[in-house]
Amino acid sequence: MSDSRSLSPADLATTVVFAAFIAVLGLFPGINAGSSGVPIVLQNVGPILAACLLGARRGTAATALFLALTAMGLPLLSGGRGGIAPFFGPGGGFLLGWLLSALVAGLVVARLKRRSLPVLLLAGVAGAAADYLVGVPFLGLYTGDLWSAAVQSLVYVPGDAVKVAGAAVVAATVHRALPNRLAGAAT
């Protein structure tokens, strides 16, 4: 939404539509797991899938747009939450981490030219791990120490593993169904 020189109508459309895609994943309500107040959500595969299908640049842009609109007060997070408070809450780090998630997953997909299932799995795992890199330390600010935040975050791992595996299978199928989609998107 800022630089007119780099934003073609096609890029604008992809960014907007995939921000909307992440929002639609929020229709599945979050599950309150553990007690840290950070829900288990489906939405965090959104940035990873977007990056696997669009590449790092457009995937990250879509995620950034989604987060910006959420912060502005639209109820786009799972369970119809929104506004700036979720970014101040214990899950705020994970939310910001979605940006890194998309960036990392997109870069992996771009570096390893083939869009096979193992590559997409690797991209997904790297993307999800990148989210923890931001989310866990931030949660640590709330729990007071990194260790307990890390232990606390283990509840998300099984769910995220399933989600990443699902995302990789789906992305591989979509790439097979629409070959050469990513050709124009080097990064």
């Binding site: 939404m1 800022s2 630089d3 007119s4 020189r5 073609s8 109508p9 096609a10 890029d11 604008l12 459309a13 992809t14 907007v16 539509v17 995939f18 921000a19 909307a20 895609f21 929002a23 639609v24 229709l27 309150n32 553990g34 007690s35 840290s36 107040g37 899938l49 299908l53 747009l65 609109l69 502005m72 007060g73 639209l74 109820p75 786009l76 939450r81 929104g82 506004g83 700036i84 408070a85 970014f87 101040f88 809450g89 214990p90 709330y142 729990t143 007071g144 120490d145 307990s148 699902g166 299978v169 789906v170 199928t173 979509v174 169904a177 629409l178 989609r181």
Partner: protein, 201 residues
Amino acid sequence: MTGGWYEPGTSPLHRAPAGAKLLALLALAATVLTLHSPLLLGGVCAVIALGYASARVTPRRCLRLAVTLTLLVAFVFTIQGLLLGPAAALTICLRLVAAFSAAELFTVTTRVDAVVSAVENAMRPLRRFGVRPDRVGLTVGLTLQAIAALSSIAAEVRQAAIARNAGFSVKALVVPFLIRTLRHSDELGQALTVRGVDDRP
């Protein structure tokens, strides 16, 4: 623009400019981090509570916030209490309550439109670097419409999956949905081109 967490009202907080409120919120969050005295922090929380009262936030809304905060505080207090002792735990919990409820108060009393305008205004000085503040509002509108379009695509795809007795197959739901999403974005890109989105003024 409709929807959102905004609750209509006429209180001074509702009428205050969005930009100023946002700055105040950020200042409050920063201050709260530097405060250690539970007494002072308690005072801040009390002031925020007064803010909720003056904005006449509905009891339902307050209850929902209270539930969220109670769960959160119970968790944080237990862990911090064990690790650092009850005094430190209390400080941390009060900070959390202050920052979170102030942020929520901002959202409840500020129209999305107003936030959009505030962001546009804040970006105005960046114009000379090629930033186009008017795109903020347009992008919000574009995304809202895209959400509506994708929601109806999702509904169609779900019905097609059920019709094939594949209502629980993730693949049967997500693959066609993504393919139609990609196609929608192609078509939207063409529609935007036709409407002159890449034209310079």
